[in-house]
Symmetry: C2
Subunit: 217 residues, 2 copies
DNA sequence: TAGATTGTTAATCGATTAACAATC
DNA sequence: TAGATTGTTAATCGATTAACAATC
């Protein structure tokens, strides 16, 4: 419980995985788990599991292991899933609509409150009970509603412009779906989802496998 | 050009980023770039850039740097963007539809040939000129059409079942959008897009920032 | 108590950065 | 040629793994 030594991003990115595996165990009514058992399930070393968890506190008990439910809750807290960060989606195209239909924002610590677009066809409609508003009105909306997070699903060229605009208005975090690395001169947290990068990496991996297959002959 | 020392995944995941930045330079009609200049743009060290590129070959020239266009093409080749991996989308819900509307598959080395779903309302319709077929018919489709990649956008519970099914049929790679880590006893390449994990990490980062802000006072 | 398993320190491994000879 | 910049080796840094005393 002392900490505030900086936790590396590698550790942080494993937290949601732990959380998922613990949810599975919970569902199976398993009440305790050792780092060794979890290691076998997850395919990472028991040592790493213990190291990772100890970045945040001593959640286990010698000779016993970890209580599944309490560890699950602890990790949920660390991830801030109990938050209600006010979130908006900008861009109601395919990706924006897919996101808007995501039903687990609240379980992840977010609350979707509005969607914005420029298309008159879309403005006024609703997705999942969330209204689509005119992008022109976004400034006052953010000011009035203390928006914490903007989810950016706008076309490539628009992305840096909109990102800058909402960052100026005090949004704390951006979830960016455009294939670019945003650089903002503000103190804004950015989490990128680079789908096309991921796709290219998939292509690379398949190539490698095929190549190696041939070489082995 | 010797290589086949294994390239680490960290390096591979940077390749699409290099590719994007080089595309930007190309668009600006910049013909040459040094690792130092690229370093300044990308915010990674020049040393790392040179190390990364030299995993694949000596693309530069002493005293000159790198030719933007040829480096761009080289990286495209390494990523296999000239491939035409036959791809199908399984699940025509929100995410599946968003993917189906993605227009750059061919630029990324993939060709979308079919979409599958179980919903009678959807079967027979088309997205982006690609027909939605009955999931029941997927086995014969994969056999007849030599499908390389399946993009999994099916509900959580279905995912491992469908993944196993298409893996058995010889699909080479899976692009998985379900929040689970697929484990298949086959030699299948898996690339995960864990959107909810990404969202939780965003939440974590925002929490940390807020916490540190308070501590600093 | 004896056995099990953590929390934590120390050792190893791999990735990043620095340095510089090679060379365009 | 002199200057610039690569390719590559060596040094550093950080993350993962191993080991084990502490303790439930």
């Amino acid at each position: 419980m002392d900490l505030d030594k900086k936790v590396s991003i590698a550790v942080v990115r494993r937290l949601p995985r732990y959380y998922r595996y613990l949810a599975d165990l919970l569902k199976m009514d398993i009440t305790r788990v050792s780092s060794k058992e979890l290691s076998a399930r997850m395919g990472i070393t028991a040592s790493q599991i213990r190291q990772d968890l100890n970045c945040f506190g001593g959640f286990g008990q010698q000779g016993y292991g970890y209580n599944v439910e309490s560890l699950y809750n602890e990790i949920g807290n660390i991830l801030g899933l109990n938050n209600k960060y006010q979130a908006i989606i900008i861009g109601a195209g395919n990706m924006g609509q897919a996101l808007a239909n995501y039903t687990n924002f609240e379980k992840r610590g977010f609350k979707l409150t509005a969607i914005f677009d420029v298309d008159p066809e879309l403005i006024g409609k609703s997705i999942n009970n969330i209204g689509i508003r005119d992008l022109e009105t976004i400034d006052s909306y953010i000011k009035d509603n203390k928006v914490d997070v903007a989810m950016l699903c706008v076309p490539y060229e628009q992305t840096p412009i909109i990102a800058d605009r909402v960052a100026r208005l005090g949004v704390k975090g951006l979830w960016n779906f455009s294939p670019m690395d945003l650089e903002l001169p503000y103190d804004v947290i950015i989490e990128n989802v680079h789908l096309s990068d991921s796709l290219m990496v998939l292509g690379y991996k398949i190539n490698q496998k095929l190549k190696n297959g041939k070489n082995k002959k």
